[in-house]
């Protein structure tokens, strides 16, 4: 595949002082464009055997008797490359806090309750159309120590492997009309307004299931174009 340079402003700024942790962790040197065959032609292979039955329904984790508390939702979307070609058979990992805004993580000190029936992580492979789908509860906003009254907008973390190594992406999906967008330096670290908007999922009445759950759609475009048919 070919990887064009990403236009300025589309990626977040690596050093963005409003998000304090970036100040000493963001590289200062420009990225070095390199020509290397394997990262743009080959990838990490993730066999379907890795997937477990509970991985696409976060509301009923393996080993738990009950159901997660919160607003039940389904999240689905298509993963494509820059040419619009589906990214098939590719690993997608998701993780999030629970409906009260608490992660099941040893370092999460937020004093919101853990839910015994919610872990908050799952994984899946995209199908022949590049589509993924999982059921979860809507994550809550939560405070973090970045600044006075800092709260993260509700979000779900995504990790994608793509079809070739250089397509790797870790990002966050947000929910429509969140009042915290304007105050969140992680969301605002992306200078380009349109690129920020592409991180916001759409409410979908089509995906909404009668008397069961609400639907959200979040399409993802990975870098890369001119994939060979063999590469898919």
């Amino acid at each position: 595949m070919k990887f064009d340079s990403v236009p300025s402003g589309v990626y977040p700024e690596l050093v963005y002082p409003e998000y304090k942790s970036t100040v000493k962790r963001g590289p200062l040197q420009p990225l070095l464009r390199v020509d290397a065959a394997l990262p743009v032609t080959e990838n990490i292979a993730t066999p379907p055997a890795l997937l477990l039955p509970g991985d696409i329904d976060l509301t009923r984790p393996e080993g738990c008797d009950g159901e997660a508390i919160g607003e039940r939702i389904v999240v689905t979307g298509r993963v494509t490359d820059e040419d619009g070609k589906p990214v098939r058979n590719s690993l997608v990992e998701v993780w999030q806090c629970n409906a009260a805004g608490r992660y099941r993580h040893k370092k999460d000190q937020h004093n919101a309750p853990l839910d015994p029936n919610f872990n908050g992580w799952g994984k899946m492979l995209t199908d022949d159309e590049g589509r993924y789908r999982f059921v979860t509860v809507k994550p809550g906003p939560y405070p973090w120590g970045n600044h006075h009254k800092a709260f993260r907008p509700a979000h779900i973390h995504f990790s994608l492997f793509g079809n070739v190594y250089a397509q790797r992406l870790v990002t966050q999906m947000y929910f429509p009309n969140d009042p915290l967008f304007d105050y969140d330096p992680i969301f605002q670290s992306v200078p380009d307004e349109a690129a920020r908007q592409r991180l916001i999922s759409r409410f979908s009445i089509e995906e909404t299931m009668h008397e069961h759950l609400l639907g959200y759609e979040f399409d993802i475009v990975l870098r890369g174009r001119d994939a060979t048919p063999m590469g898919l």
């Binding site: 390199v34 020509d35 890795l50 040419d83 619009g84 992580w121 993802i220 475009v221 174009r225």
Partner: protein, 176 residues
């Protein structure tokens, strides 16, 4: 097959930080890629990841990938792949297959770095100091090549530190 010249180019999804809370969610793959069985000789690469103040980064996640190890690790779940979190002192360690029939100048691994405060993952690669010059490393300005070289230790392992920022900043890649 090339897309038609007039085809609309889709706008990419931008990156966001992995944040501080990925560890439990990623643990399945850390467990799965630790101590993998391989039919090839191995090299062990150890190091510490530092921020711009020289403070160890204790909550990073690192991925190492060696596409030449697929055959030697064919019996494991994700051949050629390792995922490790950095430790409390910023340390990390990969034991990697280095098959005899792989190109002698191949990197020990392609490495991807994720961390809280790192708003986009960073691609890099680690090369063994006693291997022939890789065509990838040859594209790195000579003055900065040392940041990608793992140094052989008396015990036969290799030492490679990652510096996210500042003096001796590791070279990070954008693939073409």
């Amino acid at each position: 097959m090339n897309a038609p010249a007039n085809a609309p180019v889709n706008k990419i999804t931008t990156s966001q930080t992995i944040g501080p809370f990925s560890h439990e969610a990623w643990q399945w793959s850390v467990d799965l890629t630790a101590n993998v069985e391989t039919t090839a000789p191995t090299v062990t690469v150890r190091g510490v990841i530092y921020d711009g103040d020289g403070t160890p980064v204790n909550d990073a996640q690192l991925e190492a990938w060696n596409p030449h190890a697929l055959e030697a690790e064919a019996q494991v779940a994700i051949p050629g792949f390792r995922r490790v979190p950095s430790g409390e002192a910023g340390g990390f360690e990969f034991r990697l297959s280095r098959p005899a029939d792989a190109p002698a100048d191949a990197p020990a691994a392609f490495v991807t770095i994720f961390a809280r405060g790192l708003v986009k993952h960073q691609f890099t690669a680690v090369f063994l100091e006693d291997a022939p010059l890789s065509p990838i490393l040859a594209q790195v300005p000579e003055a900065r090549r040392g940041t990608l070289l793992a140094r052989r230790q008396p015990d036969g392992s290799y030492r490679w530190d990652i510096r996210m920022q500042g003096d001796g900043e590791t070279v990070f890649f954008d693939y073409t």
